[in-house]
């Protein structure tokens, strides 16, 4: 495989496209596509892959088994798509060896779908394309190739119009036209803050400098968000193509992808993609035979949330402690090693090839007045269908939770959805019908954030959750500025007191004052937004704080210090089930006699409560 010219790339694309079209229309081949993202592998996708191999061999069936990235159906991993002539493509969930055996026997040989594992809808309705069908709740632009192509094959990416945008930028567009196109599209940074991408590029382009850099922020530190990992694993070339486009536009020759060391598979797939792109002459010297040269290297993060902040991230790439510095100057003007640097996050990058390829008019037709395009959310927590979803901006939370997410687990009551992670806030039931965009979420005290969306039910305590986020922020504070370092710790201590029933009303007031002070006086985004969970939960759930303070009770039954398990004498039949399950042996009592829990020994694990069939254990 030698370096390609523009003509050769175009020819390759046509050949591959025709090949795939023929394969699909003739419907002669059997294909089994296994989702092998990190989630899939964790759930056993590699065993599934082997099982299919064995099954096909043992039946002497000639079929193709391939891998793909995340289909977004994390709750049912391992997921598998099966294409058989004469039948609609079907997606199966929870496919283990046994399921693989049945799928081969029933679906592939007997041509009857295996109802126990199959999704109700045909695959085309689940892995929706960028088709403009408004009846579908989801719309995949960023995830367009995830779960569709083999992420380790550059040819499959090229066949889906991959690198067509780069071609256009190199041979047909001026730098100003590219920036104009992004500006018309209305693309805003998907890392959370929503800064217009075209402006960042423009600043960097307009600075005179001997060297400029392009950086991809793949240091996805927000707990509960994993769309960047899935994009890098499922469609690595989209990031490379976009960064190369930016290099050409602003005049940079070197790009860096700063990625979490905790994402080994994403690192492998990116490295593999970089090698392939170099082979094809899509990275390196004289790209596609033009005068433009650009290359990309990976730099590994080392577990510091603050490195999501631009200036801290750059310090980390430079091999230093990831401490932020005050802005301005902004990295767009003075960034990596003091040179002008464009930094965007993975999701932002993944949008760009599509915007260039399909045009800004198409992109800006999607979304709301102020926020165009789509947003990927990692929908998790107490939700039935947890997974990775992509919806047009302006979709309501109700559609996300009930139509896509399938409602709350175990039929429990929805309490709140948390977006923006440790920097965000909660969205309560009364706001379920607000169309989601940057402004609307901010107006109700939350934020878009990077896309973690965690659903909480009646069993989740808001004081406890807030304490969880503060613990995170305190741990991640770099310690450079006092408001964040000391303020965060003090807030955490107060929350800890309240969760133990030792808080006072003065504490609550102090918490509010401290939160305001941190927001105003902290040096960087981490400290400024760390109090957001406090403000938001006090705003919407103050009565829960008051219950902890005044009544020494945790209404959700989550704060262990305010919880006790007692045996209701009238209901206890002395079956000994609770005593047997107790891990610390603190339940005593003879058979057929009333039992008792030794409160001084009880660790409040709740196992006795779950085990008792007679409702004889009271939690409260």
């Amino acid at each position: 495989m030698a370096k390609k010219t523009r003509e050769e790339l175009r020819n390759l694309r046509e050949v591959k496209k025709t090949g795939i079209a023929q394969r699909n229309s003739s419907g002669e081949s059997i294909r089994i596509i296994v989702g092998t993202g990190t989630c899939g592998i964790a759930a056993g996708a590699m065993n599934t892959l082997d099982a299919f191999q064995d099954e096909l061999e043992s039946h002497g069936i000639n079929g193709e088994i391939t891998q793909t990235g995340c289909m977004g159906l994390c709750f049912s991993e391992p997921t598998v798509e099966v294409a058989v002539p004469g039948m609609p493509n079907t997606i199966y969930g929870n496919v283990d060896g046994k399921a693989a055996h049945r799928i081969v026997k029933e679906h592939i040989i007997n041509k009857v779908a295996v109802g126990d594992y199959a999704f109700e809808k045909p695959a085309a309705d689940i892995i929706t394309d960028e088709t403009d069908d408004t009846t579908k709740k989801q719309k995949r632009i960023v995830l367009r190739n995830c779960g569709v192509i083999n992420p380790e094959s550059i040819d499959e990416y090229i066949a889906r119009d991959g690198y067509a945008a780069l071609e256009k930028v190199i041979f047909e567009m001026t730098a100003d036209e590219v920036i104009e196109e992004l500006s018309n599209a209305g693309l805003r940074g998907r890392g959370g803050a929503g800064f217009p991408t075209s402006l960042k590029w423009k600043f960097t382009k307009n600075v005179e400098s001997d060297q400029k850099f392009i950086v991809c922020n793949a240091d996805e530190g927000d707990p509960g968000a994993y769309m960047d990992r899935s994009t890098c694993e499922g469609d690595p070339h989209s990031v490379l193509e976009a960064m190369t486009i930016a290099g050409k536009t602003v005049g940079a020759n070197q790009g860096y992808i700063y990625i979490r060391a905790e994402y080994p598979l994403a690192i492998d797939r990116l490295n593999n993609a970089i090698d392939q792109a170099r082979e094809y002459g899509l990275l390196g010297k004289k790209i596609l035979g033009s005068d433009f040269s650009f290359d990309i290297e990976l730099r590994l993060g080392a577990g510091a949330f603050v490195c999501g902040e631009e200036t801290a991230l750059l310090a980390s790439i430079e091999g230093k402690r990831g401490m932020p510095i005050p802005r301005p100057p902004f990295p767009a003007v003075k960034g990596l090693w003091g040179k002008p640097t464009v930094i965007n996050n993975v999701e932002t990058w993944a949008n760009i090839p599509m915007i260039i390829h399909k045009g800004s008019a198409w992109f800006s037709s999607i979304g709301t007045e102020t926020t165009k395009g789509t947003k990927v959310f990692a929908l998790t927590g107490k939700i039935n269908n947890s997974g990775l979803i992509e919806v047009p901006m302006g979709t309501t939370l109700r559609e996300i939770i009930y139509d896509i997410g399938g409602g709350i687990k175990g039929g429990k009551k929805f309490k709140a959805a948390q977006t923006g992670g440790p920097s965000g806030g909660v969205i309560t039931e009364e706001f379920l019908d607000i169309p989601i965009d940057y402004e609307s979420l901010q107006s109700i005290g939350s934020m878009m954030g990077s896309g973690g969306m965690i659903v909480m039910d009646e069993d989740d305590c808001m004081v406890d959750v807030t304490k969880f986020y503060l613990e995170f922020s305190v741990d991640e504070s770099c310690g450079k500025c006092a408001p964040c370092r000391i303020g965060g710790r003090t807030c955490y201590n107060i929350l800890d007191k309240i969760s133990k029933g030792q808080g006072s009303l003065e504490d609550l007031d102090q918490l509010k004052v401290l939160a305001q002070a941190m927001r105003k006086a902290s040096l960087c985004g981490l400290g400024q937004t760390a109090p957001n969970p406090i403000m938001s939960t006090i705003n919407y759930f103050e009565e829960e704080y008051l219950a902890h303070i005044n009544n020494k009770k945790c209404p959700a039954g989550k704060c262990k210090d305010l919880l006790s398990y007692t045996i209701v004498e009238d209901l206890c039949v002395g079956c000994t089930a609770c005593a047997r399950v107790c891990p610390v042996n603190c339940i005593s009592g003879e058979v057929k006699e009333v039992h008792a829990i030794d409160q001084s020994q009880c660790i409040k694990c709740g196992q006795c409560f779950d085990k008792c069939k007679f409702d004889a254990i009271l939690k409260g």
Binding site: A302, E318, G319
Partner: protein
């Protein structure tokens, strides 16, 4: 092979070759430390001194970086490393209960190694498998949708291996 202090060299030839490759590139320190930890499971003190010498930077700067980032360890972990995810989804779905149960089974607290050096437990940041919460990894192998009752069996799989 000896260093100036007269001790056996810690860095393997492979790591030295890696350092050589990266030496000219700016911002190489974190990549080198990753390579060292990959080899030893942590960054041994002697290795840090050797890296300082090889890269020509002060040891203080190296320790500044190691202690800043959560990923780098200064002490040797257990032969089997249990990492319980404490991302938000895992936390809500009972991550803390898994840690409590682990501590009870192994008789050691977080970030400590059992006396026989077999196991160590740590709480880690989101590993991005939120759909399978709560999640833990044992020597990098991911276990999803874990409950406290499965804990003992999971640990036993690795015991003495």
């Amino acid at each position: 092979m000896t260093t100036i202090a007269g001790k056996e060299k810690m860095l393997t030839p492979e790591i030295e070759a890696f350092i050589e490759k990266w030496k000219g590139k700016p911002g190489n320190l974190i990549m080198v430390l990753h390579r060292v930890q990959e080899e030893f499971g942590y960054v041994p003190r002697d290795a840090a001194f050797e890296v300082a010498e090889a890269l020509g930077i002060p040891v203080a700067k190296i320790y500044g970086v190691i202690t800043f980032y959560h990923f780098f360890k200064l002490s040797k972990p257990g032969r089997n490393q249990i990492a319980v995810c404490m991302g938000t989804a895992c936390y809500l779905n009972g991550g803390q209960d898994l840690i409590d149960e682990c501590e009870r089974i192994l008789g050691v607290g977080l970030n400590t190694v059992t006396e026989d050096g077999e196991f160590s437990i740590e709480a880690v940041r989101c590993i991005g498998c939120c759909g399978l919460a709560p999640v833990l990894t044992l020597n990098g192998e991911v276990f999803g949708k874990v409950n406290t009752k499965q804990m003992r069996r999971i640990i036993q799989q690795f015991e003495g291996k």
